[in-house]
Homo-oligomer: 394 residues x 2
C-alpha cells in the first residue's frame, strides 16, 4: 500500500454499484431483523407498495435476492423451455447477456445484433418477427450500460405487440433514471436491480411481470427453483418471501425509496436529465465527441470517445490515482471510451468532478485539452438551469 | 404501533438471520466499493483465502450472491439433468427442499424420509444405493434447522462412497457451528449461507465443490446461468465474480472472518458446544424434554418439546412481546417445539435470556415451571466451564 495522499478522496463514479446516500448507509448498520417477524412484514410491505411506481406498472413487483442478472435469468428460465424460439436483441455487452441466457436455457435463439453503440430498430424487430412466426418472446435492453445508449422500448413494445410477442426489458440501469411506463407502453416484463438508480447496494433483483407472463411461467413450472416466479409471487401475496431475503438490503431499499419519494420521481428524472445534459456539454466543451447513436442521448450514462492520439486504456487507472473510480469501455470498447455515470445518487458537483478529473488525465497523457474547458461548459448548463453551482454572473 | 415499553429491548434469537457483531454492522455503513477495482480485489481475495478452512477443504469456495437456497439450487442445477436419478434424504423442512429442488429440475428423485426429528441412517442410505444403482448423487443436510438435529455426514459420505455416489451436503446452518472436515470425510459438495454461523447478513451463498463435482458440472453446461459453477469458478480464479456481487455483504463477511479468526475456529466450535450444553441443561432444569433423536445433540440449535398442557403456538408471540424473536416449530412441528438458536454471534447471556424469557412465558400460560430453574441449570454449566456468568460459589 502506498502512503495515502491527503489531497485524494474516494469518489465512486461507476454506473453500478453507484454511491449511496448517507441515510442508506446508516440504515445498514441497524440491527438485523428476522424475515418472519412483524418488523420485517411492515418493512417489506412498504417496499412492495412503492416499487411499482418506478416501473409505471400496477403489477406486483417481485423482489429476488441476487444480482440484476438473477432477475434477467428468471425472465428466461421462467418463460422459456428448451427448444422454444426467442428473439434476443443486443447492441452492447448487456444485450449479449440475453443471448447467453437464451443459449444456456437451450432456447432456439434468433439474434438481432445491429452493432455496439447503435439503437435497436423497431422496424427491424418487426421484420424479424414477421419472418419467424414461432418467436413469441423478444428480449431487449432499456439502458445499455456498456455503450450509454437508451433504447426506445416503447416502440419496441409496439413492434412486438404487432406480432403477438411478449417484450422483456432489461431495465437494470434504466429503472428510476429514465422514463419508463411499463403498463402504458404494453411491456410484459421489466427486470431491474438495486444498485443503480435505486441507490441501494447490489444484491436485490426486481421483476415486474404482467398477468400473461405470470400465466406462461405458471404453465411451465419446471427448470428453475430459487428464481421461480410462481413461488415468489405466491409468497409475496402473503407479504413474505419464499427464501431468506437479504434483509439488510431490503431495509436499505426502504430508506432509498423514502429519499426518492421525498425528491419526487418527476424531479428525480429531471435531475438525471440535467446531469446528462451537463455531462454532454462538458464533453463537447473539452473538444471531445460523444459515443454512440447521435439521435439518442441517455440520462443514465454518458459515453464519450477518447482521443485516438492517447493511450485510452490508461484513462481509468489515471483517474483512479486521483481517487475517481469510473468506467472505461468494456469488451470491444476497451480503451476507446469513457463512461460518465449519473444514475442514482449523483449531483451537479459529481459531474464537475469527473470532468475536472478527465481534463487532468487527458492533459497528463498529452491530449490537446484546455483545463477547465469541460467544467465551464457543464457549469453553464447548471447555471442556466438555476442550479447554484456557478456564480450568477458566469 | 403500541407505545414502546422501556423494559423491553430487542433480541434477535433466531437460527438465521442471526444477530451481527457491532463491527460487522459498522462495516456495512462504509462507502460502497466498485467490484472491478483494486479495493474490492483485495477484499475478495481475503475472503476467498479464508473461507475454505470453515469447510475443512482445499477446494476453492464459490461465493454466490443469493440466499443459502441459491447455493442449494446450484448444487442441483449444475449436477443434474432432467431424467437423472438422485437420492434426496429429508428428515425436516430443509431436507425436503432437496426433494423439491430435484423435482423442479426434473430429476428422477428417490426419497429417503425417515421422519422429522430422526437422524438419517447411513446403512439405510447404503441399502437404497445398492437397490438403485442408477443413483450417483445423494443429497443430505448437515444441521436440520427445523428440528435441531445434526446428521452424521461423515458416515453418510462413507455410505455414498461405497456405492460410487457423490454426497452433497446442505451445510447452511452447520458450517462454522459444528464440526465439518469436508476433504477428510470425502464429501463432494458442501453449500452454506452467510446468515448463520458466519455472522453476516443473508444474501451470500457458498459452494465448496470437489474437482470431480466441478468436472461433472462442466460436462453438462446447460440449464442454468446465474448460478452456473463454471462461470463462477472461472471468474474467481481471476479474483473476480461473473456478475455484480453484493459488495456490502462481502465486506461484512470480511469483518466476520476477522472475528472468527481472532477467536480461532476451535474456540468457536467449543463455544457453540458449551452454549448448546447450557441450553440443554436449561431445558431439563425447567422440567422440559428435548426434541429429536436423543443420541444426537446439536451445537447449532436446541429444540425442545413444549408442554402439551399449554397452547404451544402462542409461545413465539409471547416471547416477542418480551422483545425476544425466536423460532417456534415449522410445518408439522408448529406449536409443538421451540428452538433455541446458538449459531453465530451468541454468548452465554443470550442463552440465559431466552431461558428466562421461556420460563416467564410458560408461567403466563399456566405451565408447571419454577421461575429461574432453567436459568440456574444453565448457569451451573457455564460456571463449571469457567465462564464468569454465575458467582464462583454457585
Amino acid at each position: 500500500m502506498s502512503v495515502p495522499n491527503p489531497f485524494i478522496k474516494d469518489y465512486l463514479m461507476t454506473a453500478g454499484p453507484t454511491p449511496l446516500p448517507p441515510r442508506v448507509l446508516a440504515a445498514m448498520a441497524e440491527p438485523v431483523v428476522y424475515h418472519r417477524a412483524p418488523a420485517f412484514d411492515a418493512l417489506f410491505a412498504r417496499v412492495l407498495e412503492r416499487l411499482p411506481a418506478l416501473f409505471g406498472t400496477s403489477n406486483e413487483v417481485m423482489v429476488l435476492t441476487g444480482s440484476g442478472t438473477a432477475a434477467m435469468d428468471s425472465a428466461v428460465s421462467n418463460l422459456v423451455r428448451p427448444g422454444q424460439a426467442i428473439l434476443a436483441c443486443a447492441a452492447g455487452k448487456f444485450g449479449e447477456r440475453w443471448i447467453e441466457l437464451g443459449e444456456a436455457y437451450e432456447a432456439d435463439v434468433l439474434r438481432y445484433e445491429p452493432g455496439w453503440g447503435t439503437r435497436l430498430d423497431p422496424s427491424e424487430v418487426g421484420r424479424l418477427l414477421a419472418d419467424h412466426p414461432a418467436v413469441d418472446l423478444v428480449y431487449v435492453t432499456l439502458s445499455e450500460t456498456s455503450t450509454g445508449v437508451v433504447h426506445d422500448v416503447r416502440a419496441l413494445a409496439e413492434a412486438a405487440r404487432a406480432h403477438d410477442a411478449m417484450l422483456v426489458v432489461d431495465g437494470i440501469s434504466g429503472v428510476g433514471a429514465t422514463a419508463l411506463r411499463q403498463d402504458e407502453w404494453g411491456i410484459d416484463v421489466v427486470v431491474a436491480g438495486s444498485q443503480k438508480a435505486l441507490m441501494t447496494p447490489p444484491g436485490l433483483g426486481f421483476v415486474s411481470a404482467s398477468a400473461r407472463a405470470l400465466e406462461r411461467a405458471a404453465a411451465q413450472p419446471a427448470g428453475r427453483y430459487y428464481l421461480d416466479w410462481n413461488r415468489a409471487i405466491a409468497e409475496q401475496r402473503k407479504g413474505a418471501t419464499p427464501f431468506t431475503p437479504a434483509v439488510t438490503l431490503v431495509r436499505a431499499l426502504d430508506v432509498a425509496l423514502d429519499l426518492l419519494g421525498e425528491e419526487g420521481m418527476d424531479a428525480v428524472l429531471a435531475r438525471h436529465d440535467l446531469l446528462a445534459r451537463a455531462a454532454r456539454a462538458g464533453v463537447h466543451g473539452m473538444g471531445l465527441e460523444l459515443y454512440g447513436d447521435p439521435d439518442e442521448r441517455s440520462t443514465v450514462v454518458t459515453a464519450l470517445e477518447l482521443p485516438d492520439t492517447i493511450e485510452g486504456a490508461r484513462v481509468p487507472g489515471l483517474l483512479r490515482e486521483r481517487g475517481i473510480t469510473a468506467n472505461g469501455g468494456q469488451g470491444q470498447l476497451k480503451g476507446r471510451i469513457l463512461r460518465i455515470a449519473h444514475c442514482g445518487y449523483f449531483g451537479a458537483f459529481d459531474v464537475l468532478t469527473i470532468l475536472a478529473g478527465l481534463e487532468l488525465v487527458l492533459h497528463e497523457l498529452g491530449a490537446d485539452v484546455d483545463l477547465g474547458s469541460g467544467v465551464a461548459a457543464a457549469q453553464r448548463v447548471f447555471a442556466q438551469a438555476g442550479v447554484p453551482v456557478a456564480a450568477p454572473s458566469a
